[in-house]
Symmetry: C2
């Protein structure tokens, strides 16, 4: 080709033309995206990815990420977008396989930040061998977005014989929690509100599949449902399950692990940790006879080392979650109207 | 449940709490989304959809839609998000099967507009029996978005024996165009710029699969590549193919159909229709012996009635597109830096 090309770094910030489908879009793809996600699907430069599968039961999930700020302690919107979607697949009992990656960028985003986020997506894919197979980039005018939003949609393969779904939850099931809660939400809020705490709070954003695959291999059919406690925290998950499965739930507040510094930060911010978002913690609903083996399977992995039995499913009070409080009382743990603060993920 | 519920119409506009993962998010789902997309996958209220497939070759594609305005002549962001993603699957030779649907809503979006867009998504899915199987809703503060953005990611099944991909394009291939161009871009620009033309210009946004399936059944392996001419128009598609397949392309301007009113509007706006976006037109790269049968297959469908032979692939000038102009001359048709105006899709 005859044209003279200046490197993309000549542009310090993303411009509207980077999203216009012309030569600047091509260069964003060829200079930043393709080198990060080097695989034959993307190299085709097709409108989509074509893949062969011998698997008969697939899972599909989608999530848009609008977290503010997009860089935060313990991660950024890129790693979060990978973990969040891969974890939703894991909650379906599915090993994450393929990911689509779609950006909505606000004009003016520093190219350096974009490159950093793309690298973060790449690095977050590696531990579970996820492949980014197709993507899209749009740019909106200044003031019509907020730096960067990401959508990731994931395809996974459900482990043979596994069936985890809210409707399988039944009275008598025990509820296991994989570890201490509220770390992601507090990490985001601390930087957003400019608070500094005695210790460094970082997001717990991480892949749950390595823990979940162990749980499923051990617990098998005794594992009825899995749910990661993201937006709305543990309280929202148990409420959703109580409603969709038509069961009651009793939760033991004393058994829910919360790190001291996180609890302190929650007190300062006036937040109940049960409602604060996590990005690397999940609840497992298992039949009573599988409690010990499932807890052991969780604890074998660093992310599940502090796993505990936190509650029980009941026939009484369908749709309602009751909390046995730290002080020995009991109260209804309701669904909040929303997150304590928006844009946590 | 004991709580007292006011209908969602009590809220005239979407609030941040609708995206918080709490009770208002649940109601957005149960009162607007679930009734629109009534299928067993969504009814599970799981973190993702689990589906069985006997198909071995699947296609996956993603697109975020940021079109402004989000309601426009001939459609809205909802129908566009369905057509755009389904058409990208069609361009992979795949019948669209499953769709994920993710919203990023700006606080203040009228609930009435949201409902209208959701209905439009539903209606656009029906003609090709697409199923919305999983979704996500986020809300951002006023001034951090622009009404509504949508991501749709699609899964389709590639027709047996079909392999369409840019790398299969070879010298000697003929280039067919399915119909008159530039209608989507001009329809959007006309409302955005407050222009009124003599006739009503509407977007050509539509499903291409019904035309494409006929083309593939007729042309079979002689159909080498398909590409819909969206962002950047026909000029961008032929440039991308020329580069990725390492071939030259000659395009006959006189053979490219443009409606008179669209051409007039392009002249007023100072735009070359070859660079203006379409949402219901595609190019097919076919071997020379398949030209007539493919054109016939296109013309059997209303969307392809005006299909024409517009160009040829050459060995000479790899990576370069030359245009035989209306006036008998010849010039290089380059990739534009971007769309003439941003946020066309």
């Amino acid at each position: 080709m005859l044209e003279c090309r200046t490197p993309i770094e000549t542009y310090e910030a993303i411009t509207l033309a980077h999203g216009g489908g012309g030569s600047l879009t091509q260069r964003l793809i060829s200079e930043i995206l393709l080198p990060a996600f080097d695989n034959p699907h993307l190299a085709e430069l097709h409108d989509g990815a074509v893949f062969h599968t011998e698997h008969r039961i697939l899972a599909m999930t989608t999530d848009s990420f609008v977290v503010h700020p997009y860089l935060f302690p313990g991660g950024d919107i890129g790693s979060l977008a990978v973990h969040g979607t891969a974890n939703d697949l894991a909650m379906c009992g599915a090993r994450p396989l393929y990911l689509s990656l779609a950006f909505i960028i606000e004009e003016g985003l520093p190219v350096e930040h974009f490159r950093r986020i793309v690298t973060s997506v790449r690095d977050a894919c590696r531990p579970v061998a996820l492949q980014v197979v197709t993507g899209d980039t749009k740019v909106v005018e200044r003031g019509k977005g907020d730096g960067i939003f990401i959508n990731t949609t994931g395809i996974g393969v459900v482990l043979p014989g596994v069936e985890v779904a809210p409707r399988r939850v039944r009275p008598g099931d025990r509820i296991l929690l994989s570890g201490p809660i509220a770390e992601h939400g507090i990490a985001i809020l601390s930087v957003r509100e400019g608070l500094s705490f005695e210790t460094d709070l970082v997001s717990d954003s991480a892949h749950l599949w390595p823990v979940v695959s162990g749980v499923l291999q051990t617990g098998g059919n005794a594992v009825h449902a899995l749910r990661d406690a993201t937006r709305g925290g543990v309280a929202s998950v148990v409420n959703e399950i109580a409603r969709s499965a038509g069961v009651g739930i009793v939760l033991d507040e004393a058994e829910v692990p919360v790190r001291d510094d996180v609890r302190g930060a929650c007190e300062i911010l006036g937040l109940d940790p049960l409602y604060v978002a996590n990005e690397g913690k999940f609840l497992a609903f298992v039949s009573p006879d599988a409690v010990e083996t499932t807890l052991e399977a969780m604890r074998r992995h660093p992310l599940g080392r502090e796993a505990t039995l936190v509650g029980e499913v009941t026939k009484e009070h369908p749709g309602v979650v009751r909390l046995r409080t730290l002080f020995g009382g009991s109260r209804v743990l309701d669904l909040a109207a929303g997150e304590p603060l928006p844009r946590i993920c």
